[in-house]
């Protein structure tokens, strides 16, 4: 639990397409039955969680996410080139005492502005994405979305997390991006527990190993949900046992479940699933509590 009293459960996977969004959406629905819950879509390059809630209505204003990028005040620039040498991202070029700033390559660290001896750089906000909030029958949905063509997904992820923290929910379920590099790292940071969604395939096992490494590296307790159980015959349960990570749930593969997933329809009217999701949520919450006490 964090300072605001929110328990944060991150749903991640390593491999894409294992069912993160589906599991996250259902965990959030299960949570919302007993406590104020927010589903936070941090897969800002490909946000899809809100798509499951066709009757959701906006419950607040969309907010732009921006980074502070430098703008040159030419009258003050002496052409010393210190800003270009300071920038580690190659976003400023100094050619013959003339500075050219590539605002799209800038990460907004502010190092150039601090380095400039004549205060010739002024910071100006540049939009890199947006967050939007809606309500689906008592469940809050918060979505981060990066502008197409931008590369600063982590900025959008952090802004979305910040807005989620201000929602004062008791439970925050994060739908994280695939992979184990910076977007996934930022998405799991600050979580109390990580639910890793995997499927019984060699591809998924390989990528799950990296995701477990990431969770361990950040010291966040984690458990595996085997989704599409029976879809492949790779021994994922044996793998989890060898890795010493608990399997906290199994969702059997059925063609009709795949079909409702394709149409982004919730698994309502599938009582076996509801029960399994409740179990997964209970285990994740227990894991988060143990992690906090540790």
């Amino acid at each position: 639990m964090n300072e605001a009293g929110t328990t944060v459960i991150a749903v991640a996977s390593g491999k894409g397409g294992t069912g993160k969004t589906t599991v996250a959406a259902h965990l959030a629905i299960a949570g919302a039955r007993t406590m104020p819950t927010v589903l936070v879509d941090l897969d800002v390059e490909a946000p899809d969680a809100t798509g499951y809630f066709k009757d959701a209505r906006p419950s607040g204003a969309a907010e732009e996410v921006s980074v502070l990028v430098p703008r040159l005040l030419e009258a003050r620039c002496t052409g010393c080139g210190l800003c270009a040498r300071t920038c580690r991202f190659g976003a400023i070029l100094a050619i013959g005492g003339v500075m050219t700033i590539d605002q799209k390559a800038c990460k907004g660290c502010g190092a150039c502005v601090a380095a400039c001896p004549t205060a010739a750089l002024e910071e100006t906000p540049m939009t890199v994405g947006a967050t939007s909030i809606s309500d689906a029958g008592g469940l809050s949905l918060l979505e981060g979305r990066m502008v197409v063509g931008d590369i600063r997904s982590t900025v959008v992820i952090e802004a979305t997390k910040k807005r989620a923290a201000a929602s004062y929910a008791s439970l925050s379920v994060r739908d994280c991006p695939p992979g184990v590099s910076c977007p996934a790292t930022h998405a799991i940071e600050g979580a109390d527990y990580i639910v890793l969604v995997a499927e019984p395939t060699e591809f998924s096992i390989h990528d799950l190993k990296a995701a477990i490494g990431l969770a361990n590296g950040r010291g966040i307790p984690a458990g595996v949900v085997i989704n599409k159980d029976g879809f492949g015959d790779a021994d994922i349960a044996g793998f989890c046992e060898r890795e010493g990570i608990p399997v906290i749930g199994r969702i059997a593969f059925k063609r009709e479940r795949a079909a409702s997933g394709a149409a982004a329809s919730l698994w309502r009217g599938d009582p076996a699933i509801t029960e399994e999701i409740d179990t997964i949520l209970a285990r994740a919450l227990a894991g988060a509590r143990r992690g906090t006490l540790r």
Binding site: D48, R88, G179
Partner: protein, 296 residues
């Protein structure tokens, strides 16, 4: 040399399976560049044996020497990425490497010179032989590293270096539309967009289409996992048609295809109900590549 990149926006849409099948249909003259460096599955899909390996260095990282830190917090205030946190039980700060963007703003502000840079291996790059004679360039990024785009560029450079003048390089891109995806499709001769016939697959692919248009990439579409939902099948077709992207094939949702990699095969050699559709799609892609080659 011709480069065909395979991307989808959504994860799990079938990029790696399709890339491996394209490579298998082209044969030993092609080089497979697995650019999904944080979840690389090309080696599993093609059955690889590593031939050479080299360390990957991402550039300097930053570290604070606790003994030299006065605990003034200037670095903490300077960091815009939340990557500097107090050390518990000491009047000092530390850098969280997983969150550090390596900008150096902290080092510039430190009054006691407690911050220094260090070189850290961020991953490894491999050139492998595969059972079909196709050479594979792939990499493993350390979990939590933040320079996947740079490693993607390196994988592509290595693939170009070992490819012959008439070779085709098949680039298997990561999911999403961010920095490593841009690095995977930059300068490609043909972008194959895999559209999963699902609500999220179509939505994510349309963001990729927007990116591809802004980068002026020649594209074609493959619809995958068709037949689960008739409405989604229609919408996937309509999305590509609206964007003016030609359709190279429609591949059904077929469990027989899913098990290809576990039986040491690719979609190109699995014998099942979907085989005619796979063959047609691969032939369509090959004919486009042949036409592009003639123009070289």
């Amino acid at each position: 040399m011709i480069t065909v990149s395979v991307a989808s926006g959504k994860g799990g849409a079938g990029k790696t399976s399709l890339s491996a099948a394209i490579a298998a249909s082209l044969g030993a003259e092609c080089v497979f560049a697995d650019c999904d460096v944080d979840a690389a599955n090309g080696a599993i899909a093609l059955g690889a044996t590593i031939a050479t390996r080299e360390p990957y260095f991402a550039g300097p990282g930053f570290t604070i020497a606790t003994s030299a830190c006065s605990g003034c917090g200037a670095c903490h205030a300077a960091c815009r990425f939340g990557a500097i946190e107090p050390v518990s039980g000491a009047d000092a700060f530390r850098i969280v490497p997983e969150l550090c963007e390596r900008c150096g703003a902290c080092m510039a502000r430190c009054q006691t010179r407690a911050i220094s840079t260090y070189e850290k291996q961020a991953g490894e790059l491999f050139v492998s032989d595969t059972r079909m004679g196709i050479r594979l360039v792939h990499a493993e990024l350390e979990p939590g590293e933040d320079t996947s785009g740079k490693l993607v560029a390196l994988v592509r450079r290595r693939a170009e270096a070992i490819a012959g003048a008439h070779a085709v390089i098949v680039v298997d891109a990561p999911p999403g539309i961010g920095c490593p995806v841009i690095a995977s499709i930059t300068g490609c001769d043909l972008l194959t967009i895999v559209v999963e016939a699902s609500a999220s697959g179509i939505r994510d692919a349309s963001r990729l289409v927007e990116l591809a248009e802004s980068m002026h990439r020649r594209s074609l579409g493959i619809i995958n996992k068709a037949g689960l939902d008739a409405d989604m099948d229609e919408r996937a077709l309509a999305m590509l048609a609206k964007a003016g992207i030609p359709l190279a094939g429609r591949i059904p949702f077929d469990l027989a295809l899913r098990s290809a990699e576990e039986s040491n095969r690719t979609w190109a050699s699995v014998d099942c109900e979907s085989t005619p559709k796979i063959r047609a799609a691969l032939a369509a892609i090959k004919s486009v590549l042949d036409t592009l080659k003639e123009k070289r």
